[in-house]
């Protein structure tokens, strides 16, 4: 039977055939395509590998404990402590606002939103903010907070602009995490007589925690590296020597205050590059970029690790 089919196929020549035997040319094309597709995958790894290697080499001899913990200096390599502090501070301040709002918004979209005009408008808003360039979001912050509210360049203005920019991401990731919870869990809870909100609070959200935390960490990674939003909201300048003993958050001189300009690590890289001066400029930027990349790696691997551990713990329990 098979031999027969084969012979019929052969007689039909190079036309697309049903014979189970592709022509020589198409087999060669298939092999070539496979090689090319493997090549694209390998290229991605090659690029990433060389970037990491490049920064590991560039940061060698630059990044040290004193580079992380010292103030910038005019005459020596100095350190990046104040801008690193600002990055962490801005991250915390932004997440403090964005996580609750994003989580609650995600709950609405996953559990309450009906198929109506309002939901459509929220989706459209979500997509719009996601596609508006970060620089435009920063400019919006500039008009609203810096000019209209007369705050000037402040950490709070930057954090709010960052919140605007990342709210769609946080909301969408929360919604996805909540939607991934099986419908049966909800039905079981409701069948036991729990109200909708009790079900959400005590059943759906706890089950979605691994996904929610992954979402938080991925958002955090994006917030940490963002610069364009902050240029015109949190300010761009050389930070003063901070006095961490000054805990008065209403005092703009305190590093704990949200009402002070806060140049972050990413913005600092941009600033050093655009000024183009300074004997140690290249080393400082290389070192700072290496630290940024390491943070990105930590955030990514952290999100993976935490998600996996929590899933295992929750599903085992």
């Amino acid at each position: 039977m098979t031999a027969n089919a084969g012979s019929i196929g052969r007689s039909s020549g190079a036309k697309p055939s049903l014979n189970g035997k592709a022509s020589r040319g198409s087999i060669l094309a298939d092999r070539a395509a496979t090689v090319v597709l493997w090549g694209t995958g390998a290229l991605v790894l090659l690029i990433l590998g060389s970037i990491i290697l490049h920064f590991a080499m560039a940061a060698w001899g630059v990044v040290s404990l004193s580079f992380i913990l010292d103030n910038p200096s005019q005459t020596t390599l100095g350190g990046i402590m104040p801008v690193l502090w600002n990055s962490i501070y801005m991250l915390a301040l932004t997440m403090l606002i964005a996580v609750p709002v994003g989580l609650l918004g995600g709950i609405y979209m996953a559990e309450y939103a009906g198929d109506n005009v309002v939901t459509g408008a929220i989706r459209f808003a979500e997509e719009s903010i996601s596609s508006v360039p970060s620089i435009v979001v920063g400019l919006f912050g500039l008009i609203l907070f810096v000019d209209d509210f007369h705050w000037g360049f402040t950490a709070l203005a930057g954090a709010l602009a960052l919140t605007f920019f990342n709210l769609p991401l946080m909301t969408r990731l929360s919604e996805q995490a909540l939607r991934a919870v099986p419908q049966d869990e909800r039905s079981a809870s409701l069948a036991l007589g729990a109200t909708k909100w009790q079900t959400i609070r005590h059943v759906v959200v706890p089950l979605a925690i691994p996904g929610l935390i992954t979402g938080v960490i991925l958002t955090a990674g994006r917030v940490f590296g963002e610069a364009a939003v902050l240029l015109f909201t949190a300010g761009i300048g050389t930070p003063p020597h901070y006095n961490f003993a000054n805990l008065d958050i209403t005092n703009p001189a305190s590093p704990w205050s949200p009402f002070r300009p806060a140049t972050t690590l990413s913005v600092y890289i941009y600033k050093l590059n655009s000024e183009g001066l300074g004997a140690f400029k290249n080393q400082i930027v290389d070192g700072s970029a290496a630290i940024l990349i390491s943070m990105v790696l930590i955030f990514n691997l952290g999100a993976r690790f935490v998600g996996r551990v929590l899933t295992r713990r929750l599903t085992a329990a």
Partner: protein, 325 residues
Amino acid sequence: MASLTSAYPTSKLRAKPGLLERLDLPRRVVFVAAASMIIVVAMLMIFIVWQGTQLFVKDGYSLGAIFDAKWDPLADTPEFGILPFILGTIVVTAGALLISTPLSVGVALFLSEVAPKWAKSIVQPALEIFVGIPSVVWGWLGITVLVPFLADTFNGPIVISLPIVGTVFSMPGFLTGFSWLAGSLVLSIMVLPTITSVSYDAFRAVPQELRTGSLALGTTRWQMIRHILIPSALSGVLTAVVLGMTRAAGEALAVQMVIGNSPTLPEAITQPMTTLTSQITLDMGNTVFGEPWQDALWTMSLVLLVISITSVVLVRVINKRRMGS
């Protein structure tokens, strides 16, 4: 049945809703959180449209004066032709997509059709790290690696001549390396994860039966990809390209760092140029609120806003057509 319900009043079986829930408070609160995005977008649009039209309303420039090639903010009668920036954004984005689309679709096909599990579990996390690398770091890589490489490698005029026919192609070489090509290359890597992940989803969404059906008819895997998979996922791939385009057109710092920032239209990919985002980034800090120069920058931000909202609508149209067919 009636006796059963009266014997076991359902109100007793049910946990009592708290006061907050009886006031429907939880639903209201989560709704406000979600709807806050509408408020943010509406305010953003109102503010940018307002600021972006001041150049016409307050400073009395005509639309024709804006869509002009001459940009000279420091002249006695300043000219704010933003055409070089708009065209700059278009060409640098086009260059990036030209490089990135084949590569990204290739990676997406690799992940969805070819890669064994182990390869997938390396390449996918790698792409996620790409997404996370901040824009300033890409720009810095461009300055320290790509730009010097271009300047050193192609410093003379680039001429292709054939025997008999003579010169078929020539363009000036790189002067400094800061150029259209540098901008497009940096952007192409930055949009690679976007285009890859969205096309990957589109390929995964193609029903498995179509693949097995094609292979059962005796096609090779590549024939199946070319004639079945890519046509079926075309609208998804198109969405991916539009999203990549949006990201490329809106990217500010990395492009500004490598593109050379000369407010002229580039004559060749080796020449410096500028874009909407890079000019805004550069000039915003040097201008005073309310002066025509800054108003022109706001007009440029309005153009960026229009581009991004258009692409949101475009993606919706593409997807609706896919749902329809």
